[in-house]
Symmetry: C2
Subunit: 224 residues, 2 copies
């Protein structure tokens, strides 16, 4: 499937109707999505990652700007730089934790940077002319939000093939951009570790580790 | 379904395996998602919106912080304030456009703020203690990114029931927070118009209007 596939479906095609069975499976996909930090080292077929990226690029974007940019981090030098960055940022983050939580924090496994066979750094091109600036004047952060939506679709697409993803945010963002030598104007959004998970679960790793369970936080509708 | 449903699935349950049929339907969901600005005025059942919000809250969040907050904008006063905000922000955005594009810009329908029966303003609680700050020290924007992921799931969940969503970003964010009188520390992320679409299409409205087509922008993998 190539990028041309974006243009295959035209308005003449009939809109799909989704049934209860699809919706139940979709709900299962969301419940079993999970942030994965424990990966097997077996390779993930390149075609599978390419298919998931095609789906990710169907994400909505402000003004159709499609500002997401994906960097495949493959060389040992680039991976080493990311791991060193993570160690620095994680040491700083540990020091910010309440003393009562520091021992637990230090025991958490927060990234799969050693094992994950596929690693993608995601950037937002803040300078793209595509979309002619539409929708971004008062809220330029919507460009980054577009890249984040692509990440969510990538995550779901990979999980639908049994592949796990873990989002690493404990990084110094400017150092990532520098170490990966990306073009001026690309802003770092996320580093994604991708691979076959060691185990499948519907319960977040941070909940199983006793750090923070899912709650109903934010679920209630405020009315105005 | 209540927020307690989050806790129903335990690790003992068996992980689902998704087949090619599910993946084809999932791809159709992404292709027919669309940003909708033309709504019918018929009401959307409250239970349908509640179900979609339940699914949205299954989104990943940094440190399990679940910082998304949803404000249902229902009163005429609140809706009027948002429409006035949009008119101001849109006039400013129009003035920033190249002269050659201004006439086309002025003809675009950029929001369904008049017609959409359901309108949700989404905020990020920047002050939540949930998650104990994990993952946010070097990239605090990941809190907003968590709310954005919930929005993407809400969008897909609604579309799976035939309901459309349009993301309005042409707004002065501080004025939205002030007009909706949300708690101190909630940052405005998006205003969502929700309703039954006038028409279904797989082609973005901005593409049909001749503003900006989808392209392959950002699809190519950069290697490092």
């Amino acid at each position: 499937m190539s990028v041309l596939a974006f243009r295959e479906i035209r308005a003449k095609d009939e809109a799909p109707v989704f049934d209860a069975r699809f919706r139940a499976e979709f709900e299962a996909l969301l419940r079993w999505r999970r942030d994965v930090r424990r990966f097997r080292r077996d390779p993930v077929p390149a075609e599978l990652v390419e298919r998931a990226l095609d789906l990710a690029c169907l994400a909505p974007s402000v003004g159709n700007s499609q500002p997401w940019r994906f960097v495949s981090v493959e060389s040992e030098a680039a991976r080493d730089a990311l791991r060193a960055n993570f160690r620095r940022a994680n040491a700083a983050a540990l020091a910010l934790q309440d003393e009562s939580r520091r021992a637990l924090y230090a025991r958490l496994k927060l990234a799969g940077l050693e094992e994950a066979p596929v690693q993608l750094a995601v950037f937002c091109d803040e300078t793209t002319a595509q979309g002619h600036g539409l929708g971004q004047a008062s809220m330029p952060e919507t460009r980054r939000y577009s890249a984040v939506q692509a990440i969510q679709l990538l995550w779901l697409a990979l999980r639908s093939e049994g592949v796990g993803l873990g989002w690493v945010s404990i990084l110094e963002p400017e150092a990532v951009a520098r170490d990966l030598a990306v073009p001026e104007g690309w802003r770092f959004v996320a580093h994604l570790c991708i691979g076959w998970p060691e185990a499948e679960t519907a319960v977040p790793e941070l909940e199983r580790a006793g750090w923070q369970a899912r709650t109903g936080a934010g679920r209630e509708l405020v009315r105005r």
